[in-house]
């Protein structure tokens, strides 16, 4: 069966990008974007032409982390046999009705609160109509008129000029957060001219986050999404793993001259990682600038990012503007949320969602965690960023600090330089680290007492981490000491046994 994911005339058909890799708006090696914390304007170079202001807005879909789907009791799971996690409602069989999942509402409220949104105590559900094979009902239930949360903000940090020591905080406004259904998955079998449909994902709860176009380049977009990812993971409202489609980002990009109205925007889809997000946005900005510079025009189209070629390609244009014929969802009354003041006296607890109750139980957000680390341990702000960027690393660091006399300011160096670089080299997570926090603390204690040198400590760490070269060096040293009388194989075994203790 020859199949490729994600194609199809209506939404996702792609044409091959005619641009050779390496050629195009900016050849490899050139710094892509002049936009940074200084203000977002891109100079047009030595020619002295009017500068361009790029405008970037993001639409993000985050899959809600829940056991069951938004409106049905079928399971939410990434990989499963096709059509095994599908209820009659998900398959849109006649006579079935949506039943709202409480957990999904709580996830949306948590996320709205974490992003400083106003939570609408009354929000409504609507139907958005369009035809596609992976949307069996012919419409998606969403919240177009009155979404669950509005008018929030997301703060994120950027390094100026690639120097971690100079960080600047930026903010992007959140227009709204709405609950909606995910669609199923289509696999396109071009060879047999057919589409295979798997509805396992159909009906899974999504939070759509719409950001205002407050960003100006790929770096900002990437930093904002990274921070959002950390927030969602801290809240637990979404696992936000882009590779598994739990976090999907579409970028809206346009350019204009200062003082003039916004330019025509294009929508860029098919962005599968944060790194690609930055690339896609920067490419599109450059493409638009070149096109307009050459006297061309930008059409309001949807483009796909081709990660192999590093460029955006037009998706086959939908016929004119889509008319989704929004209508209120007739099977769902308004969603009413309460707070401490408006809590009804004699209503079943299970039927009541209290915004204040949820707010009180929000965990420390990443920004708060970073501040606490800096304050408590005296580490630099940029250290706190690197720490929080790795799942489990802050806890590891704190465990080492607890068990060692070495000052946290020194410990952080060992964590970020030695341990982390090793883990990165071998693609290991903190949980998979062969060096435990106990062991590292032990080692650092020896160092503090000056019983071993810094170099030795690094070597031991490398050995413990399994660096074969260093192990061999040790064997060599043993050989020297025993004047060649020891059995190298036995020595290796003994050393390995000792080291594994």
């Amino acid at each position: 069966m020859v199949a490729r994911g994600c194609g199809g005339v209506w939404r996702r058909l792609r044409q091959r990008c005619a641009v050779r890799p390496g050629s195009g708006p900016f050849p490899r090696g050139e710094r892509a974007v002049a936009c940074n914390a200084r203000g977002g304007m891109m100079s047009a170079g030595k020619s002295g032409l009017t500068p361009w202001i790029p405008v970037v807005g993001l639409e993000i879909h985050a899959q809600i982390s829940s056991n069951s789907k938004l409106f049905s009791g079928s399971q939410v799971q990434f990989a499963a046999p096709p059509n095994s996690l599908v209820s009659f409602f998900d398959a849109s069989l006649p006579g079935t009705l949506p039943v709202l999942n409480r957990r999904c509402v709580e996830a949306a409220v948590m996320t709205g609160l974490a992003l400083n949104c106003h939570i609408n105590k009354k929000s409504l559900f609507d139907r958005k109509h369009y035809f596609y094979a992976d949307l069996p009902a012919g419409y998606q239930i969403t919240q177009q008129r009155v979404p669950i949360a509005v008018n929030g903000s997301l703060s994120y940090s950027l390094c100026i000029d690639n120097k971690m020591s100079q960080m600047v905080t930026k903010t992007v406004r959140i227009k709204q957060i709405q609950l909606e259904q995910d669609s199923g998955k289509s696999l396109h079998d071009d060879a047999r001219s057919q589409t295979l449909v798997d509805l396992n994902r159909a009906g899974v709860g999504l939070m759509e986050l719409v950001m205002e176009p407050d960003m100006c380049c790929g770096e900002e977009a990437a930093a904002a999404v990274r921070e959002l990812q950390l927030i969602l993971q801290t809240l637990g409202s979404s696992q936000a793993v882009m590779a598994e489609g739990q976090l999907r980002v579409d970028a809206n990009v346009s350019v204009h001259h200062p003082g003039e109205p916004y330019g025509v925007r294009t929508e860029v889809k098919n962005i599968n990682s944060i790194r690609f997000l930055a690339k896609a946005v920067d490419y599109e900005i450059q493409r638009q600038i070149e096109e307009l510079g050459n006297g061309g025009t930008i059409s309001n189209e949807t483009r796909a990012f081709d990660s192999k070629l590093g460029c955006t390609v037009p998706m086959r244009d939908k016929e004119g503007k889509q008319d989704y014929r929004f209508m209120p969802e007739p099977n769902l009354p308004p969603l009413i949320l309460y707070d401490a003041k408006s809590l009804p006296a004699n209503m079943n607890h299970q039927q009541v969602i209290n915004i204040d109750w949820i707010r009180e139980r929000l965990p420390d957000l990443p920004s708060v965690k970073r501040e606490k680390l800096v304050e408590q341990y005296g580490i630099l702000p940029e250290h706190s960023f690197t720490l929080l960027n790795e799942d489990g690393l802050p806890e590891f660091f704190e465990n080492v600090v607890k068990q060692t006399q070495m000052k946290p300011k020194k410990v952080i160096g060992w964590i970020l330089n030695d341990l982390l670089s090793y883990l990165k080299q071998h693609s290991l997570t903190v949980k998979e680290s062969p060096v435990s926090s106990f062991l590292l603390a032990d080692l650092l204690n020896l160092l503090e007492k000056k019983e071993i040198s810094s170099t030795a400590a690094k070597q031991v760490m490398a050995i413990k981490a399994g660096n074969q070269k260093v192990l061999n060096k040790l064997i060599g040293l043993v050989q020297k000491k025993t004047q060649g009388r020891s059995n190298p194989v036995l020595v290796k075994q003994l050393l390995e046994k000792k080291l594994s203790e």
Binding site: S68, F88, L187
Partner: protein, 160 residues
Amino acid sequence: MRVLSLGRWLRAGRVPPREPASRPSGHRHSGHRPQGPPQELPQGPSQVPPQQKVSVEVLEHLEHLALVDFRDSEGVERLQKAIQFADQLHEVNTDGVEPMDSVLEDRCLYLREDDVTEGNCTKELLENARETVEEYFVAPPGNIPLVKLEGQKTFLQGSK
């Protein structure tokens, strides 16, 4: 939808007032209130706004959106009659009345616990499908745009 305000009158047990149509008809798009000259008091029990023909462009747009085929003059006539029927709602004066969201808007929205209670019925679901491949549903490739064939005019185009 403003039209659902009619429900409030009915529930209150009152008869909708026979007031002069403050909104003379036109072809009504959702949310659009066509302005027009004030009308005289109605003569009979149902003073319906004058009928307006639906344009060919609108019909073609509808055919494309909803994948329906108006096929012949009888189909178009039926549509016109349906619009005319719905236009009767304009007789009700809804000034100052808060629009309803739906007839369920006073009901409680039931919240379900996040438990897995359904699914695992692949065989049953696939039974309904005409064609399946390895437990996938089979659909035609992508969305094929409605082709306007050269020599063959649709009914609508022919009736222009």
